[in-house]
């Protein structure tokens, strides 16, 4: 007699849930394999190969939730955990003042797999470590470079989602990333420049398509130029933001406020709420007319395009902001009905078998415009071109934000000139997006992903991708990121 299959475990758990009288239940069984190779200062500091197996059972009993999970996938633990989830749901129901009602979703039976050409697990470790060591060596060829990092990461999830409604979904998902950074020291100052792959659902080919030595030469030179660059002068500037930088701006100032659970107060004690309250939907001018932000969990290769979410809802594409007007939320089956929607947008995700699914930002991207990047810059008399991610902070309703960046260039009279350092800009979200005057065309569109978006208690990490073409913002307040007052 062989080991029980995931089919048998799932049936065992869901049979207990059905017998309890619960109106809904699901189980996620997951096997996650992660490899992280970290280089630091010309050495391979660590290679970690992690296996994370377990399952979680979610139960809706008389309109209230219970969730239990375990890393022990056995014939003894599966029924114990299912019973515990029921018990927790019963307790929640005993003090419930309002019943959860799930939005309808068709029953699905499907299998979703990430297409890839090169399995990162099959790539010899020596090849991966050699790539990182050679990249760091190139970084240190620049005399002022004192520190370096280089990293390759990949993660493969094999997962089963099965519900009492009859949905059965199997997943085999892969994501890959790589990055390098260099820190230059000059005159008692230091500055870091980095190059990051965009975290995509691809195979190892994502790593192999990059000319790492060339990128390392550029990164090291720009780190040196950055540390020697003049500090920015406080003032009002036009900003041209590159797609990687915009991915973070979109994430923090549009993505989070568009999560409906936040707008309804679910995250009030930690991640915060949202200034995009439900009455604003369809009526609030979030940005200028060129600003259209679309959630697309169907775009191949992006992190949230998993076919189905952890409610078993099919991934979709919808508008968050259309021609500057706020029109849509990221939702799950629980909160969708609270704003009168009949179907979830399919944005409910857990960060593994041990986490309960919560509403997550979708793959929200800024729709391209019609200009070239040169045309955007040519229209700027005094401005700054910003690449990459730096410091970032935003209030708990997502109004007041402050962003830095990884690299900054002064724009004067329509031309990008020399680098600057210590650039910080701040503003109020809708005022900022209403200052957007143009977006570059589709040929400039790039994607960047996130795997460390913190939300929920216990905190979970969300995965999503934000795409954009460079965009021009007028009259933004810039301050020098140094000193106190």
């Amino acid at each position: 007699m062989g080991s029980p299959t995931w089919d048998e475990f799932a049936e065992l758990a869901l049979a207990r849930v059905r017998r309890s009288g619960a109106e809904y239940g699901d189980i996620r069984i997951q096997h996650r394999l992660t490899e992280r190779i970290k280089g630091e200062d010309r050495r391979i500091a660590s290679v970690c190969d992690d296996e994370d197996n377990g399952f979680g059972v979610r139960v809706l009993y008389h309109g209230a939730w219970g969730f239990a999970a375990s890393s022990v996938l056995s014939l003894e633990d599966v029924p114990r955990v299912a019973d515990l989830a029921v018990e927790l749901a019963k307790y929640s129901a005993s003090i419930a003042t309002e019943k959860v009602q799930l939005a309808e979703e068709p029953v699905h039976r499907d299998r979703v797999a990430t297409p890839f050409r090169s399995d990162p697990h099959a790539v010899p470790l020596e090849k991966k470590t050699r790539l990182l060591l050679e990249a760091m060596e190139v970084l240190h060829n620049e005399p002022d470079i004192v520190r370096s990092t280089a990293e390759i990461w990949w993660c493969r999830d094999r997962k089963r989602f099965q519900s009492t409604e009859g949905t059965v979904l199997d997943f085999d998902l892969l994501a890959v990333n790589g990055s390098i950074s260099a820190t230059a020291l000059f005159d008692g100052r230091f500055a870091t420049r980095s190059f990051n792959l965009p975290y995509l659902r691809h195979g190892y080919e994502l790593i192999e398509e990059i000319r790492w030595p060339e990128e390392a030469i550029r990164v090291a030179r720009e780190a040196v130029e950055k540390v020697r660059a003049p500090a920015v002068e406080d003032g009002v500037y036009d900003l041209v933001l590159d797609p990687e930088h915009l991915s973070l701006t979109i994430h923090e100032s549009c993505g989070h406020p568009s999560e409906l659970d936040r707008a309804l107060g679910y995250e009030a004690n930690y991640a915060g709420t949202s200034f995009l309250t439900p009455e604003k939907r369809g009526a609030f001018r979030f940005g200028s007319p060129p600003v259209t932000l679309v959630a697309d969990n169907t775009e191949p290769g992006t992190l949230a395009a998993t076919g189905y979410d952890d409610d078993g809802v099919e991934c979709q594409k919808w508008d968050i902001v259309r021609d500057g007007v706020f029109v849509g939320y990221c939702t799950n089956r629980e909160v969708a009905r609270k704003i009168g929607e009949t179907r979830s947008r399919g944005s409910n995700r857990a960060d593994g078998w041990g986490g309960v699914p919560i509403v997550r930002i979708a793959n929200i991207g800024l729709e391209p415009g019609e200009q070239t990047l040169d045309q955007l810059i040519a229209d700027v008399k005094r401005g700054i071109y910003i690449e990459g991610h730096g410091s970032y902070s935003i209030d708990q309703r997502r109004y007041n934000f402050q962003f830095g960046g990884d690299a900054f260039w002064l724009i004067e009279n329509g031309r990008r000139t020399h680098m600057l350092r210590d650039v910080i800009y701040h503003g109020i979200t809708p005022e900022f997006w209403n200052s957007c005057e143009g977006v570059a065309d589709r040929s400039f569109r790039r994607r960047h992903g996130f795997i460390t978006c913190g939300k929920g208690q216990p905190v979970q990490s969300g995965w999503m991708t934000h795409a954009a073409s460079p965009a021009l913002f007028r009259k933004v307040q810039v301050i020098r990121g140094e000193g106190g007052s």
Binding site: R43, I44, A45, S46, V47, D50, E51, D52, N53, G54, G56, W65, F67, A68, A69, S70, S71, V72, L73, R80, D83, A85, E87, L88, A89, Y91, S94, I95, A96, T97, P124, L125, T129, V146, R147, L185, F190, G265, Y266, A268, N269, Y270, G272, V356, S391, S393, D395, Q396, R397, Y399, N400, Q402, G404, I424, H426, Q457, P458, G481, G484, S485
Partner: protein, 447 residues
């Protein structure tokens, strides 16, 4: 209600079981050195918002990690599956990595075996009563808020974990650790108030006291007034102080110090903050999360990091410590930040002495702006007030700050004795509330 009577907590990995697992791994490993760590945890959270339970979760996760080395080549693998085949597979994966990895010039063998301090890291009441108490406490907090027609959002959580480290040179440590947490945000119209607690004992969360404090803050926070950004004298409550200090602690990394990329580079032995300020590690303090040993297999001992405002200690990795001839590596998991001569017992007592200042309950989303001088930014949150002539005059809209703890703590005014400071971003420490003569708020938000 006989909640969980039919579903007792499963037995966690015991000390003897961990020793057995470690011995099995050592027998399977062909490495020169083999180090095993254990983190077997059961944790539950009752989460509420809008005065109702929105999540009720309970998770058991066991994690074994092994690092195998051949000379200076090393590899690490982990698994959540404790069956014989999976453990054997984990060792094989670590060995495969170690054989293929390049030599690491900074690799060091595991620390020599030594007895670890035995501390009261687990409280039986948290293990036994945790799940039931979570529900009772959540209900109590929501009930108190409902009585005032206010909205409550928060968590009550409890956990028990078996934590171990072992190496094939004889190093061995295993202890049980418990933790309980409560945090609450109360909404009163457009105002919010917050409070939090964390302790090894679930009996020490002071739910009623904390809830009433959050309710009071929320009610006082209604209809916040606009004040312009600029430099203000401030009174920071312990959580706000801890938020800034956690970044200063981060800045004490010894390797960055040596490379010149630390904001305190060249400052060891010199005064970096006000002469009355001290920072120490007090692992035996009953209100802190002291441990017997670290994941690296180092003992946790009392240590002094800042004394008389002078930087006395850096945070060493083992390689940097050896390179600098540091024999005993200090840890800082139980920090107490104090101000010499501080005598006020509470924030309320301290406020009576304040002519004019902004009172900050907590900071949110603190991030570095410039690591050279440790300029940080962040927002005030859940209780920001104007204080005049010893009294709270009105709530004010939340500010963004833009300042460095290395600057603002140069000149510390009156302060309280260290008190519990728990934040989601900084964890737990004991820190005083304190008055600072000048703090830079760079902008204001809409609420």
């Amino acid at each position: 209600m006989s909640l969980f009577a039919s579903n007792p907590w499963p037995k966690m990995t015991s000390r003897d079981e961990f020793r057995f697992l470690a011995d099995v791994i050592f027998a399977r490993s062909s490495g020169d050195h083999t180090v095993v760590t254990l983190h077997d945890e059961r944790a539950g959270t009752t989460r509420f918002a809008d005065n109702r339970v929105i999540q009720n979760v309970d998770t058991r996760r066991g994690l074994l990690t092994v690092t195998v080395s051949f000379g200076r080549r090393h590899g690490t693998a982990s698994t959540t599956d404790f069956t014989a085949g999976a453990v054997q597979g984990m060792v094989a994966r670590a060995e495969r990595i170690a054989r293929a990895a390049p030599e690491d010039p900074e690799y060091l063998p595991p620390p020599d075996p030594r007895p670890f301090p035995v501390r009261e890291t687990a409280r039986e009441e948290t293990i036994t009563n945790g799940p039931v108490r979570r529900h009772e406490y959540a209900n109590e907090a929501m009930g108190l808020c409902r009585m005032e027609n206010l909205m409550a959002a928060g968590i009550v959580s409890s956990s028990v974990a078996s934590v171990g480290v072992a190496a094939n040179n004889g190093l061995f440590g295993c202890e049980t650790r418990t933790e309980a947490q409560f945090s609450l945000t109360v909404q009163a119209d457009d105002g919010t108030g917050w409070s939090a607690a964390a302790h090894r004992s679930i009996d020490h969360l002071k739910i009623q006291e904390r809830t009433l404090a959050a309710i009071d803050k929320a009610k006082r926070s209604r209809e916040a007034k606009d004040l312009p950004p600029g430099d203000y004298p401030v009174v920071l409550e312990p959580a706000a102080v801890a938020g800034l200090w956690s970044w200063l602690i981060w800045a004490l990394d010894a390797k960055s110090y040596d490379k010149g990329t630390s904001p305190v580079a060249g400052q060891l032995g010199k005064q970096i903050v006000d002469k009355r300020v001290a920072l120490s590690n007090v692992p035996d303090h009953p209100d802190l999360f002291g441990v017997g040993f670290t994941a690296e297999g180092l003992p946790s001992e009392p240590s002094q990091w800042i004394e008389g405002g002078c930087l006395k200690q850096l945070a060493y990795d083992r390689f940097t410590a050896r390179a600098r001839g540091v024999k005993s590596i200090p840890t800082l998991e139980s920090p107490i930040f104090s101000v010499k001569g501080a005598s006020f017992g509470s924030v309320q007592e301290l406020l009576k002495q304040i002519d004019r200042a902004i009172l900050v309950t907590n900071f949110w989303y603190i991030r570095s702006v410039n690591l050279r001088d440790l300029t940080l930014t962040g927002m005030t949150r859940d209780g920001t007030f104007l204080v005049e002539n010893g009294h709270i005059v009105c709530p004010v809209k939340n500010f963004r700050f833009h300042d460095s703890p290395l600057r603002v703590f140069q000149d510390v005014g009156i302060a309280t004795v260290p008190a519990e400071a728990v934040t989601p971003e900084a964890g737990k420490m004991l820190a005083p509330a304190m008055a600072l003569p000048r703090f830079h708020f760079s902008s204001v938000t809409r609420f």
